[in-house]
Symmetry: C2
């Protein structure tokens, strides 16, 4: 019998579909026209399909790409610009001045290219971004071949981006109209936070998210300062405040949520709000430790975000997952919470679900988009192997990702970037960094 031609077959010692099927050993997956055609035993797949490109191998794990549900990608150019400082000083003396001097469409496009290069090298196939000039960022992301949800930031005070709330919202809506229906870019709407957006502003963004069936991406309950500030202004803690105005929906991705009360955790569960847990940023800025294990117990949907590289200082979702799993065990005083399987689901399929994209991506199943990564197990720190879930969450590093495919397009293979020119991206980064440093010195 003649074999069916496909674009890609990827072979794996362990294939983790992140469905009810936990692991397929000695597996393979066939891909055609950007979609997964079949997942199964290697012997069977190889006997029935003929690939143009063969990926993976005997000492490789294949799984859905990692999903970064909260970032500000273009901030990679500010990585390490200022560290070890209180949040207020870090923002007011370093980050905001640098942003106000530097931000432009060109800056955001070039910086997002570097962010994409980093995310590809770290096995991220889908990310949820909130920043400015997202049109320019979208251009870079399309070139890189990644999948992203992009939301133009909405604020109640003027910046170089817009002079009024209405202008921010008009621009955000125009961005949505321009990009809705794109095969890789999903627009969203991004009210910044309860302390920078009034309930009226949130209401307008929620209406837009309903009208276009898109996510709402916001910061929520990040610091003790925010909780106190919202109490002072509105007499309620941040989540109760939004709830009292009917502003919490299933479309919402709330980043951080470090300080929820027990009642607020119940509200998040009832409303189906997704939390993007960003432990490295929360620790490094001394914001606190989010009670993720308690949220999971109450049925809150939690996935992982890196936040921007200025406060982290990288875009490594696997690092966040590994840290979160260990950190929650200590704060829960229970080593069984966030076990390796749960944690890996949070880093993959649950991230896609949070972004409303689980029909398309986040698991390896027939008919889904071929969005997957290959992990190279041929490393001293990955020997020997008893449990592949444990190995990925507790021992593997982002740098063990050797291949990345999105919608059937190979973005990296054998650690070589296929869509972006590394030297060109690095050259731009160096030139922009010189401009940023010149400004810092003035």
């Amino acid at each position: 019998m003649a074999k069916t031609e496909v674009d890609i077959i990827v072979e794996a010692r362990y294939l983790l579909p992140m469905t009810d099927t936990e692991v397929i050993s000695d597996a393979a997956m066939a891909v055609k026209d950007g979609l997964i055609v079949e997942v199964g035993k290697k012997e069977d797949i190889l006997s029935r399909y003929e690939p143009k490109t063969l990926l993976g191998g005997n000492n490789r794990a294949v799984l859905p790409g990692f999903v970064n549900t909260h970032t500000h990608a273009a901030m990679v150019y500010f990585r390490g610009l200022a560290d070890d400082l209180p949040l207020k000083q870090w923002l007011e003396e370093h980050i905001w001045p640098a942003e106000s001097r530097m931000l432009s469409p060109e800056f955001c496009r070039d910086a997002t290219e570097l962010a994409c290069l980093e995310m590809i090298s770290s096995g991220v196939t889908l990310f949820n971004d909130m920043y400015f000039y997202e049109d320019a960022s979208a251009e870079a992301i399309k070139k890189a071949g990644l999948r992203a949800v992009l939301g133009a930031g909405v604020l109640d005070f003027p910046t170089s981006i817009a002079q009024s709330t209405d202008e921010y919202i008009e621009k955000a809506e125009q961005f949505i109209k321009d990009w809705i229906g794109d095969e890789l870019i999903m627009p969203s709407i991004s009210p910044h936070a309860p302390y920078t957006c009034s309930p009226e502003t949130y209401k307008k963004t929620i209406d837009i998210s309903e009208r276009y069936s898109i996510p709402v991406h916001t910061h929520l309950s990040e610091t003790a300062w925010e909780v106190q500030e919202i109490k002072n202004r509105y007499g309620k803690t941040p989540i109760e405040h939004l709830e009292s105005h009917g502003l919490l929906t299933e479309r919402m991705i709330a980043a951080h949520v470090v300080w929820p009360t027990d009642r607020e955790i119940e509200i998040l569960a009832e409303r189906g709000v997704s939390v993007s847990h960003c432990p490295e940023s929360n620790l490094k800025l001394a914001s606190g430790i989010s009670p993720v294990y308690r949220m999971l117990k109450k049925g809150v949907h939690v996935s992982f975000g890196t936040d921007g590289a200025a406060s982290n200082n990288d875009l490594d979702v696997l690092g966040e997952a590994s840290l979160a799993s260990k950190l929650q065990k200590a704060v829960a005083e229970d080593p069984t919470v966030l076990d390796a399987k749960t944690t890996l689901r949070m880093a993959t399929c649950l991230g896609a679900e949070a972004l409303g994209l689980s029909d398309i991506t986040g698991t390896l199943e027939k008919g889904k988009s071929a969005d997957f990564i290959v992990i190279d197990l041929d490393k001293p720190h990955l020997m020997p192997i008893y449990d592949i879930f444990s190995h990925i969450v507790y021992s593997a590093r982002a740098s063990d990702v050797c291949a990345v495919v999105v919608k059937g397009r190979v973005l990296m293979n054998d650690y070589e970037f296929k869509t972006l020119d590394k030297e060109e991206v690095f050259g731009k980064a160096k030139r922009w960094a010189m401009k940023i440093m010149e400004g810092q010195r003035v």
Copy 2:
């Protein structure tokens, strides 16, 4: 003028001596007969020395190797054997049965080879080990070319190693006699913990450490259970208990110290005891979070350990340092604690100091042993660079280490291992893992 012949010149965009000189840019270092001959500007070094081997390069950072002040290297063969379990169940149902079935000189030698391969690949040049059959481990370490402090474990109950406390101590002393004076291996003495060793046993080990001028390596105040147990037995918390018997000395490296009281922190500072902070193991086993920032404030000497790979699950000191820095900021509610420079000192020169080896290693200075690593900065997650300390602590990964040199011997260069045969080490790991799994199934 004729150039002086040296064995190695290593070039660096940034050279971090970890002395009062913070950074030398466009630097180089000359090495001859295992020792550092000179550190300075590249132009100057290259004009005066002629190397047999040229390492490093324009986009590289050079610094002393990382120091792992607490591990059980041979436990790498149990990596990922059991996870997400309470400590008691993990130990009693998985680790101890596996150890009692498997441990032998051959097992420890082969496993330590894998541990050395992993530590070399992660930039560790010196480690402090406590386990069994350290003679066999020493053989593997000499072959790998790493520097290590090795202590045979002493316990008050019988195992396959020894039938009585005296037999453990006799064997440990024999090991000391056999290895003292070795150029890479420094023997130590390792009473396991206050709950497994009586004060009399500790006293014997302290006497031996004084007699031979060697370190005492112990576990101390690791879990809330231990604190309660020692209180029940002796009426005192663990550190006060050892103090009351005069058992705390400057030669002691105390691993973990998760639960010290304020008074106990003062005692550690007064006695000059070094603490090996192992945050990943402490979090993953839900032992707790050590108050490192409070210990530093009181002048306690703190460095980093990985613990064994069975509870971590790797031997990555840089990962511990990066985590510790962020974690302490959150628990201190102060983002200025464990800043990048302090943290990197803890991971390098302060580790060497803890082990009593700071005359030999831990900084890059004329006359010190040429123990250094090269970090490859040519990575997306390391672009752009404003502050090399921030980059190494907050952005770099162990996998960015591209070269490792100990005592002038190149152990890894361009990510290629030079002293151990990777395939051979992996082959042994696979064969031993099969035996371990067979045992687990019974």
